[in-house]
Symmetry: C2
Subunit: 214 residues, 2 copies
């Protein structure tokens, strides 16, 4: 396909595609004339993945370049691929996550509680997932505010999150190509976040009406 069709089918403007080509994010097409090239479905899939990493996950062009280089090396390993595009695994050393920069933010008590939670659930995660810090900070904030809510209170929520994540993984299996699967993972993980919170709010109102409504 010509660059105009690539633009139309990807939703990425021609100047932006040319910038990605110059910058090496997108490999060159097959030259067909002095100033023309032919692109195929693999360009389209890669461009759609780039768009999701920059436009939806909010990565910089340079971080996207690192992720794509790592993705190219691990195309056959779906678990590493998903970790890379979702930011669980750093692009520099896939498979061996770094120590996080922000390990000092949550105190040891909070992180031990999160370790107890994941152990109880039997979840195996990478050594320092950013999400564990978020959980530790939430538990500490609730404690500071005097709310009686510890990691055990999170257990039933975690069991529902477990089933939510299983649904997420089911949604990815419809895409056969690894780059398509990676793109879907970014879109359906990041874009569904506000939607899942919105569903909870609607359901809260429904349950509140059922329990307390006139």
């Amino acid at each position: 396909m010509r660059v105009s069709e690539l633009s139309r089918r990807s939703g990425v403007s021609i100047p932006t595609i040319k910038y990605y080509l110059r910058d090496g994010l997108l490999p060159p097409g097959r030259a067909t004339a002095a100033n023309q090239a032919d692109y195929d479905e693999s360009h389209l899939r890669r461009l759609r993945l780039i768009r999701s990493l920059i436009g939806v996950r909010g990565l910089s062009v340079s971080a996207t370049k690192d992720v794509l280089a790592a993705v190219d090396e691990h195309l056959g390993d779906v678990h590493v691929l998903l970790g890379l595009v979702l930011g669980v695994v750093p692009a520099e050393h896939p498979g061996t996550p770094d120590e996080p920069d922000d390990s000092g933010r949550a105190d040891t008590a909070g992180l031990s509680e999160v370790a107890a939670l994941t152990a109880e659930l039997g979840w195996k995660t990478s050594p320092h997932p950013p999400a564990a810090l978020v959980l530790a900070e939430t538990l500490e904030t609730l404690r500071v505010l005097g709310v009686d809510f510890d990691w055990r209170s999170l257990l039933p929520y975690a069991e529902l999150a477990d089933r939510t994540a299983a649904l997420d993984l089911d949604q990815l299996q419809v895409a056969g190509d690894p780059l398509e699967q990676a793109e879907r993972a970014v879109l359906l993980t990041v874009l569904l976040e506000p939607a899942l919170l919105a569903l909870r709010r609607l359901a809260q109102e429904h349950h509140s009406r059922r329990r307390y409504g006139g």
Copy 2:
């Protein structure tokens, strides 16, 4: 209790408490001397609710004043009370939500899909919940990005959100006093949002490793 103890037990500084007293957010204590007053548990509960509305929900002092005035009128109606502090019901006319300012943002197709979803689930909500707009916008964004995901794909997620909301409501029943229940509702709804998304991320990694890990 003296203002110093009220400050210690609420986590709100004495100058801020004095500001709330001058501004009428907090009713005056019982005067015990020329420049001293005595405060009771009802002051503490109200102050904690004020702190959660301003510090956690991010309301302005003036919006908090409106919510508190409406709360005072509806202390006996837990459903309206929760709707008020969570922002489902506008403080100006509790029980009859306004047309939203932003009704033009999502097109009719998205909102009809959300209406089909809530009907299928049997959820009864107020006429124009902000959360419905979020859902409509998510469905439209996914459609624009070429992802095959419609309101029916949201159904299994909504069923898990329904169970999450039931847990949320269970957490409120431990608080007997209406103001305490309202405070807990704000804290456990707003502060748990990033934690629930973090649990989903950890569970995604766990499921990805189980399905695709080496």
